[in-house]
Amino acid sequence: MRWCLALLLCGFLAAVNALSSSGSRLLVVLDESTDQSAYSTLWSDLKGRGYDVSFESPKSDKLSLFKHGARAYDHLLIIPPKSKGLGPNLTPKNILDFLNKDGNILLALSGKAATSSAISSLLLEVDIQLSNDRSSVVVDHFNYDTVSSAEKHDVLLLQRPGPLRPDVKAFFNGEGVVALPRVAPQTLGSESNLVSPILRAPATAYAYNPKEEMPAPEDIEATGSQLNIVSAMQARNSARFTVLGSAEALEDQWFSASVQAPGGKKTTTVNREFAKQLTAWAFKETGVLKVEKIEHYLATDGEVAPENLNPKIYRIKNETVFNIEVSEYNYDKWVPFEVPGNDELQLEFTMLSPFHRLALKPVGRTETSTIYSTKFTTPDQHGIFSFRINYKRPFFTNIEEKHEVTVRHFAHDEYPRSWDISAGWVWIAGLWSVIGGFLAFVLVWLYSAPATEKLKKTQ
């Protein structure tokens, strides 16, 4: 009863604080010299979505990401300070420890001034590289704002990005242009599958150091879509590290600025919606998956009795059904998870290596989850197997499930009987003719009279 009440209370609290799936304590690291009010719309939007926003200066002595060894905040938003570095409390190691303890980080950069080497080495840890001189700015002579940067072309006007690949869900798409002033570009390491670009520069864009007059051809390191304006790293523990190239894009003045692309019409930016999508993803309001329930049982017609659910042991060549319920967090509630277009939720039946890897198909849905199911025959190999779901996709938190079961071989009385095997008929006939011969022999031996006449004849 008490347990029920606690659950109810929890549900009630969750309903009141419609917010991130992983906590509401947000720390904003902001230089004192930076005007906090420049971002006032962003703060009020975040507070409106249920975050407890606290502000600290990187130089402050009180600033600590941990308290008694545990995280003091759930999320961290870093606006680049004008001074060098992030101070002694925000060393790359501290920030990575925060990430390792499931804290989410949104790091904004700015092309206005050179990025500090501390941030650069922090980004290297997550396989995101800045340009060599750390003070490059992206320019594009085709997609710039003619109102605010007619001369310098360093305010990019870009459409919000669609899906990264056909099999990846688009979290940041939508109508309208985003204004991105003075972007510090990032390039991503190609070896890691944890990093993914969120917003890439257009093909005609390039980066240069504004302090130099004319870039020499050999100074141009990356161009076009190799330059990332917003990129993300989702660690193996599903903690998120998001890098936004232009901190200015979050300022109030760009949330509803009037901009005009060369040869285009005047439009209003959608920075506010984009900032919402970006912070929501970075702080785990979207793209969070949860497994509600897993069931497996022998395939039968009709209902499965509860005692036959999730047996510990199966036999080889058993028809088996596997069901999994998955939910996705969407801003303030759990909704049924839909697998993106070309993608599949896959089940592996594994002993050392997978014997089966099968697509799970949606068969039904509850209020908060979709039921995915598949049916298969256990392999003709006995041993300790496991049902495994290893669903790791860009922008979704990881699902890793492993449920061990034993697969035994046939019991002695489960094989077909000898008369079912036609090749055995010869041996069965032999056996019974020997038995018949024995009985006939006993009769003859017991009761046969000597064949006297014939014997006499021969004598």
């Binding site: 099999d167 190609s190 390039y206 076009g224 592996e348 039946f349 890897r357 036609s422 006939a440």
Partner: protein, 289 residues
């Protein structure tokens, strides 16, 4: 007169549109593209002029021994000038690939670029369709930047040299695996089985006929029944029920059902058998067998 009336508005329209176009746009002139195999002389290989208005119609073949050279003069409006950006942009729309190569530009706008297949990203080397080569010229300020397709580049490779591959792992769905089951045990053709079964079953009648031919008979049965009816009946019965027990064990019984029954029948067979065989011995001693 009519002609004048018609041309006047057009002239007005053109003059209205011209200033926009003429706020100086970036472009280029005196452009040539040359593909030269390694070791070929000055005049070896392929060389063609192109202009900023119309792309070359035919794709240019580009093999792994060639070097591609593009020369042009960048112009802002009609004056030659050095732009901030002068790139050769290779683009594959279908796969969303793009890569740019900056020209080496002199102060007077003369730009030059040399390219070999080694400098291309390996993703481009395996493309079957020609790549779109565009010239991008732009700079700060008001002037309109230039970006247009100028020719197509067809990548050709020596089929004997394997393509370099870049296997990078990306999270996504993996190929399906379906376990391949061992073949279930098979039986020989039923005709052969039946023939051999018939041959084996035929041994019993053959044995019977042979015994009859050699003079086997049941001639002493009446005598035996008369002298010791009960032991003979019980002994034979126990032998037959032994076989019956074995049949039951074969079809449905387990060992624990068989053993007590077999023990019981065994004792009966022992006791009745000693009596029945005593009678048989009596017949032998009487000289009847």
């Amino acid at each position: 007169m009519h002609l004048w009336q018609a041309t006047l508005p057009i002239c007005l329209l053109v003059s209205a549109a011209l200033p926009v176009a003429a706020t100086s746009a970036w472009g280029f002139a005196d452009a040539t593209v040359a593909v030269q195999p390694k070791g070929a002389g000055i005049n070896g290989g392929f060389k063609e002029q192109f202009d900023s208005k119309k792309p070359l119609s035919k794709p240019i073949a580009f093999t792994d021994v060639d070097s591609l050279r593009v020369i042009l003069t960048a112009k802002e409006g009609s004056s030659s000038k050095r732009p901030h950006q002068a790139f050769l942009l290779l683009k594959d729309e279908r796969n969303g690939l793009d890569v740019s190569y900056p020209f080496t530009v002199k102060e007077n706008g003369k730009a030059r670029l040399e390219l070999t297949q080694k400098e291309l990203p390996i993703q481009f080397l395996s493309l079957a369709d020609p790549i779109d080569a565009r010239v991008v010229i732009g700079s700060f300020g008001e002037s309109k930047a230039y970006d247009s397709s100028v020719f197509k580049l067809k990548i050709q490779r020596d089929a004997n040299i394997p393509l370099p591959t870049a296997v990078t792992s990306r999270y996504g769905k993996l190929p399906e695996i379906h376990h391949i089951f061992k073949d279930s045990p098979s039986n020989p053709p039923i005709v052969i089985t039946l023939a051999f079964t018939a041959a084996v079953a035929a041994t019993l009648p053959v044995l019977g006929f042979m015994w009859l031919f050699l003079g086997a008979n049941l001639g002493h049965l009446p005598t035996a029944i008369k002298s010791a009816p009960l032991p003979h009946a019980i002994f034979l019965g126990s032998l037959f029920s032994f076989e019956g027990l074995f049949f039951l064990y074969y079809t449905s019984w387990n060992l624990f059902q068989l053993l007590p029954a077999a023990a019981l029948v065994g004792v009966v067979a022992f006791v009745s058998g000693s009596r029945a065989l005593g009678e048989v011995q009596g017949r032998r001693l009487a000289g009847l067998r």
